[in-house]
């Protein structure tokens, strides 16, 4: 089967939307000091323009439908023709369009928000240069029509993420977090690199179309190896167990960065990769099962760990990990529309949750510990509304966007024959409702606890509680950005947070299903014993239990009366397993750092025995080289080497003697 992806042609707008953010990054980087605050406006405008260009070039791509032979509608622009099988180009098909829209659309809102959030920062312009560079890198990743371009984008977003996590590099914790994220992501890059090696070795092309068209020619183990290597990259980037440990630490970066990179776009690259390579996965059930299981474990582990966090951003980080687990589970088992839809809705509500938490953090002078909040409903009503909508959406309350996509994923696992993953999905939905409402109740209900002594709240290291950074604090309160700069983007995000999911309404005839009709494989599936409606009801029941428990623990009048006492008790009694996040960090250290050292020592010695030791060199040679000349003969140094050589020659000769003897 020949796989043609998109209508090839000339799409200047496609090039424009790709290169604009790069141009923005360069200009802001070069003229940052002159631009001052304009840097923010310029950075936002560039991304906004890129969003408009996206819509226009999609229009172009669907207008010129030649129809004949194209498996997919969309725009394809060739860039560099290299060698046969090694062509580089840009591809805007429904899948990449979805990502590009989120990157530029949500990205634009977060840029605007950042103008307000970073208003007082010393390195204001640098921030926007990095942010624009990130957008460019992410666009490279999703627009690329081949694996190598994808890998280049993959590496570049890791680099941008490294810069932005470590943006406040005066903080050692931020630098450490940035380095950790980078190392784990490079490990993922290497996984993809090996996948490309194997793909090229078997298909002799890097283009998506060629590779997907030739899936049938790959042997099953080979295909499985390719899928596993690709998924190592996806798991590292999308914080899947056991490569997730960098994501909570990455919250050291500024909050808009957490919203854009570590919630809405970059961390979902793994979902994109699996969805993009759907033709590979759909040919190999083992690979599908592996991805589905990892996704399920991540969803559950993230939700459990989310229940044990006190830092508002870390709660959201674990929730992100858990939600991406859902997406990966969805695309893994083959429910591509559902998984991709969850990315779509999650981008809105999670960005909104992060931006809402940013409003709180900003208003409370960089306080991030929810135990020191409380009663903020009256103080920050707008932030409350924003967070409430986000929480309702993530919990899957009917009518809000999250309900449609999450149910699609959970039901999809059952449809594709994975009842255990189905159960995990439902359980995770209940846990999600619990920890998100816990966050909501502790933060906004009761009375304000910011003036309570931290140790009374069970905060062990009060000096570490607020991760306030020096540069931000210095200027705090001197001059503030207009409030609307931060409020308007959050307000706009409320709309899709509620309504984006309605695109999925109508099952197979929904606009969503129509849009992706040609994108993903659609095997005929048996109808499961439990209907979609029943699934929704079961999920709702679980969610209700989760909310009920959270209400009973944190929001009843009795709980609010002795909130301080209760929070301290909970903090002190928190199991070590949860506070240490299941000891994943320690295990990774043991597994990779220690074993690699051991490996290096053992095998290195084996190959390079260092027959010559320094002692011989230092003593005799400097004085009388003739002496050692002879001595080196006698002690067998050169002789040992010559011996190895002669052994090799003997092997060669035996081979040739046998071969030439066999000729007669």
């Amino acid at each position: 089967m020949h796989y043609q992806m998109g209508n090839s042609g000339s799409y200047p707008l496609l090039l424009l939307l790709w290169l604009l953010p790069l141009a923005g990054a360069i200009v802001i980087w070069a003229f940052g000091p002159q631009l001052k605050r304009l840097a923010g406006a310029l950075g936002s405008a560039v991304v906004g323009a890129s969003f408009v260009a996206t819509l226009l070039s999609w229009h172009d791509g669907t207008q010129s439908v030649a129809g004949a032979g194209a498996n997919l509608v969309g725009a394809h622009q060739a860039l560099v023709s290299w060698l046969p099988g090694f062509d580089f180009g840009l591809l805007l098909d429904p899948l990449s369009l979805l990502w590009v829209c989120i990157i530029t659309g949500v990205g634009f809102l977060i840029h605007v928000y950042s103008i307000g959030y970073m208003y007082d920062d010393k390195a204001f312009a640098r921030f926007f240069a990095f942010l624009n560079f990130f957008v460019f890198a992410m666009l490279t990743l999703v627009l690329s029509d081949n694996f190598v371009g994808l890998l280049v984008g993959w590496g570049l977003v890791g680099l941008a993420s490294y810069f932005l996590i470590g943006f406040w590099f005066e903080k050692p914790s931020a630098v450490a977090a940035a380095r950790k994220a980078f190392v784990i992501n490079v490990a993922g890059d290497v996984g993809i690199m090996f996948a490309i090696f194997m793909i090229v070795a078997s298909v002799h092309s890097i283009a998506f179309g060629d590779v997907f068209g030739n899936v049938g020619s790959l042997s099953t183990p080979w295909l499985l190896a390719i899928c596993i290597c690709l998924f190592i990259g996806a798991a590292a980037k999308s914080a899947q167990v056991p490569l997730h440990t960098w994501l909570p630490d990455a919250m050291e970066g500024p909050t808009p960065v957490s919203a854009l990179i570590h919630a809405a776009t970059m961390v979902t690259a793994g979902v994109y990769l699996v969805a993009r390579c759907a033709p590979l996965w759909s040919q190999n059930a083992d690979a599908q099962l592996l991805v589905g299981i990892i996704g399920g474990i991540t969803a559950l582990a993230g939700a459990i760990l989310g229940c044990a966090q006190w830092d508002i951003k870390r709660i959201l980080a674990y929730s992100t990990m858990s939600q991406i687990g859902y997406m990966i589970m969805g695309v893994g088992v083959g429910a591509y529309e559902g998984g991709v839809a969850h990315f779509f809705t999650h981008a809105f509500f999670k960005a909104q949750l992060f931006l809402g938490s940013g409003l709180i953090i900003h208003a409370l002078a960089n306080e991030q510990d929810v135990r020191r909040m409380g009663g903020l409903m009256k103080k920050l009503p707008f932030a409350f509304v924003a967070m409430l909508v986000g929480v309702l959406a993530i919990c899957g309350i009917p009518g809000f966007s999250g309900s449609f996509s999450k149910d699609a994923v959970i039901y999809g696992t059952l449809q594709h024959g994975h009842p255990i993953l189905y159960a995990i999905g439902i359980l995770t939905a209940g846990l999600t409702a619990y920890y998100m409402f816990r966050l909501l109740f502790v933060t906004f209900f009761g009375s304000y606890r910011g003036d309570v002594d931290p140790s009374d709240l069970g905060i062990r290291h009060p000096e570490l509680a607020g991760t306030a950074h020096a540069a931000h604090d210095d200027h705090h309160g001197e001059h503030h950005a207009p409030a609307w700069l931060m409020n308007v983007p959050v307000g706009i995000l409320i709309v899709p947070s509620i309504f984006a999911g309605w695109l999925l309404f109508g099952g197979e005839h929904s606009p969503w299903a129509q849009f992706f009709a040609q994108q993903f494989p659609h095997p005929t599936l048996p109808t499961p014993a439990i209907s979609e409606l029943t699934t929704t009801l079961i999920v709702l029941a679980c969610v209700a239990v989760g909310i009920g428990v959270a209400y009973a623990r944190y929001a009843t009048a009795a709980a609010q009366a002795d909130a301080v006492e209760r929070l301290r008790g909970e903090s002190v009694r928190m199991p070590a397993l949860l506070t240490n996040a299941f000891y994943f960090d320690a295990a990774l250290d043991l597994l990779f750092v220690r074993t690699s050292q051991l490996f290096g020592t053992i095998f290195g010695r084996l190959i390079d025995p260092q027959i010559i030791d320094g002692a011989v060199r230092e003593t005799a040679f400097s004085a009388q080289w003739l002496g050692t000349l002879v001595r080196s003969f006698q002690t067998g140094l050169v002789r040992a080497y010559a011996f190895v050589l002669v052994i090799g020659v003997a092997c060669f000769l035996v081979y040739y003697a046998v071969i030439s003897g066999g000729l007669h």
Partner: protein, 117 residues
Amino acid sequence: MNPYGPVAIYLCVALAAALLFTFLPGLLGRAKPNPQKQEAYECGVEPTSAVHGRFPVRFYLIAMLFVIFDVEAASFYPWAVQMHALRVFGLVEMIVFVIVLAIGYAYVWKKGGFQWR
């Protein structure tokens, strides 16, 4: 006859001659050593140290430089034999060879390669 036959004969004759002249004196001559006979006679001084003593590096350097000119002399012979056949081409080639050698010689001289320090 095998075209390599003469080569084999040549090798045998050379080997035989070398062996002959090495061992024949010992067989033919009468050996009656006495201390006076064992002394070094008209061909050097009494050795004052172990036979397998170490030589200064300089000795080898100069010996190697000598070998180069030895090779030069050796390569003159075939040219001299074929001089008329090779005509100007051979002459030019030999001149180039000598010039290269002369430059190296000058370099070694100027750098103090012949100084016995």
